[in-house]
Subunit: 393 residues, 2 copies
């Protein structure tokens, strides 16, 4: 139904297929629809499709099989599926149409995870309110390029400065927050909701205002896929030099950039470092290689001691016992390890081995075995908890 | 084929369906593949699909119909389509599987345009090299929140500061760059490639280093969809108060924020304003309502004089002749209008009418009638050309 008004509106946007679809084909279908009882209804118009399924992050995982459920075709070719009532959380999902994985054409919100776009939605309440954008003072997110002489290239990182930073003369403490394999400097801001978590917890007075620096841990990259001079190169999972010590060795380039470009507390009590999975591994080695630098260390589901068959030739991986001892002797305020009890056995075993190494030298740490597995659901929880322990006066 | 190594890698990512698909299902299919002769091959694995089509921004538009081409099913259920040789440009496309529009599951790069995600790819060379990320000094992109007392809310804008800004004491000129209907503060950075254009042209010495401010012209919004406290609300095309003068009336809030938060040249010779479509309309009215503020004014396919049936009650729309006369008398360096000859007749007519108004008071302007229509292809071109005329000493 094209009215005179929509014709005028059409005139004001791109003439592309895309805009037209917005106006004429799309507004009929609402998907996802979050119902009052926190069940969620998904809809997809596909009169010519013969099989449509949905995969969602709320579905119990079945080992290496992707869990999925069939959607049902109703009137006028609209396929629907309604979940059970869901707990508050940020969820991901995708459809499959006749065997082809697709995003939901009615949902413009998607997050890239490695090489895949998935749609997202949020069930409000409880802990998910930390991930919501609430009407609170908002920090600034900046994507900046810094020089990394140790890697002989310019590289990109994301910096969160808390609300008020720009209109203050104060120095702020810094949390360095590292991503996992396949991630990059955008991962914590996308899947991790780190910006929203900080805005909300700072506004509630639960977290000290801090700068949060999210570097790219893949030293062979300049930046996230699509943001570097190699163009729209297909994102890959395991990049060269990602766990060979180069990131740890050159981390000083990042600290130098941050401390010369932001008003920071340039001492151990003003620095924290944490990371998930591979980023937890990086965090462990960075903090022990710069053993008088961080008062707060967070290992979130760290992938430590899992690739022992790989040769460890980097200086960053030599003399571990000595380095840990130095870190212990120099003192620190918090060494925090968390992992989900359904994480891979190999990972759980690696962490147990690491704990024994720490115990052997009487190096204190907090250890938390949570529900769940190797998931962003857990890593968001860990950030919420860990950040509340930092920089308290 | 799961090797021991991939099993280890799997352990290091999220256990979700998503990561597994990356590793096991996805690496086989390359799409899009840009061939040496600049033809492009698209591939989609869909053995159970019975009809697959592709729509792309290189296809000639057929009025209100979305142009599309059929893809062909080959061995092992992979559908393919190869274009003719394409000119250098940033292109968008989507697939349709049995009638359902979908993104390309093998291409992680997509841009949101209003409510729709479309995949993108770039054919290098010529003008498209302005849109590429080249190995040049990179500016910073920051998303900041400012107070808009005139709209009684906090609002979000994007700010580009050129490479070197942070390590300098200099004051920089500012280009205010406005989006069209359905757009927001992310539009020029997404579809518009404004960051890449500035980085590249500044590095080549063609454009003066400048700050570029991209506000959100929909005053009923705080921020782009998904970035405001109304959550993941479906993006809509026409928002309330978008062309009723409120944005123009309250634009001073943005200037004040920028000039008190950045080192700027706080005079007319240090300010430019430009916008596309609705943003061109906003630009015309803002520049005449603040008639001694901008030395450079750019109307890109401006949607001016197209909605004359709507009552214009805002003070921003009163006494136009007087205001234009004041702008003329105060002086300016460049008033630049460009539009594509295939744009909507209504829009072309509106611009002709506006030109007559300018001619009537002998207000000088540059006018450029280009190829093409109401498209991002044109607006990127216009930014490339307009920006090279700004702030020259």
């Amino acid at each position: 139904m094209k009215t005179a008004l929509t014709t005028i509106l059409l005139a004001l946007t791109s003439f592309s297929l895309i805009a037209q679809q917005n106006i004429f084909n799309r507004t009929e279908i609402v998907s996802p629809e979050i119902n009052k009882d926190n069940t969620v209804t998904f809809r997809l118009k596909g009169p010519e499709a013969s099989k449509v399924t949905i995969s969602g992050s709320w579905m119990p995982s079945k080992g290496f099989e992707s869990p999925s459920e069939e959607m049902h075709k109703g009137d006028s070719g609209v396929w629907t599926y309604t979940t059970e009532a869901l707990q508050p959380e940020l969820y991901r999902y995708s459809f499959s149409v006749n065997g082809v994985r697709t995003t939901d054409p009615s949902n413009a919100f998607a997050i890239r995870d490695v090489a895949t776009l998935s749609n997202i939605f949020l069930i409000e309440g409880g802990k998910a309110d930390n991930y919501k954008i609430n009407d609170v003072p908002h920090g600034t997110v900046a994507y900046r390029w810094y020089d990394s002489p140790g890697n002989d290239k310019k590289r990109r990182l994301a910096v969160y400065t808390p609300a008020g930073y720009e209109n203050s003369e104060e120095n702020y403490p810094v949390l360095y927050l590292l991503h996992g394999i396949g991630g990059d400097e955008e991962a914590w801001l996308g899947s991790g909701r780190a910006k929203q978590i900080m805005d909300n917890l700072i506004a509630q007075g639960k977290v000290e205002p801090m700068i949060m620096v999210m570097p790219n841990g893949n030293v062979s990259q300049q930046a996230a896929p699509g943001e570097a001079s190699d163009g729209f190169k297909r994102p890959t999972f395991m990049l060269p030099h990602t766990m060979d010590g180069k990131f740890e060795e050159t981390f000083i380039d990042i600290i130098k950039f941050v401390e010369s470009n932001y008003r920071t507390v340039e001492k151990k009590e003003g620095r924290a470092i944490a990371g998930l999975s591979m980023g937890g591994y990086h965090t462990a080695y960075i903090s022990m290689n710069y053993p008088n630098t961080f008062d707060y260390v967070g290992l979130f589901s760290p992938a430590i001691n899992v690739n022992n068959n790989q040769p460890k030739i980097s200086v960053a991986y030599q003399n571990i016992d000595e380095k840990l001892k130095a870190q212990l002797d120099n003192g620190y305020k918090l060494y925090w390890i968390a992992v989900g009890k359904n994480d891979m056995q190999m990972l759980l075993d690696g962490i147990q081995k690491y704990r024994k190494d720490l115990d052997a030298i009487d190096m204190k740490y907090a250890y938390k075995l949570t529900e769940g597995g190797h998931t962003w659901e857990n890593w968001r929880d860990y950030l919420v908890e860990f950040s509340q322990s930092l920089f308290k006066k």
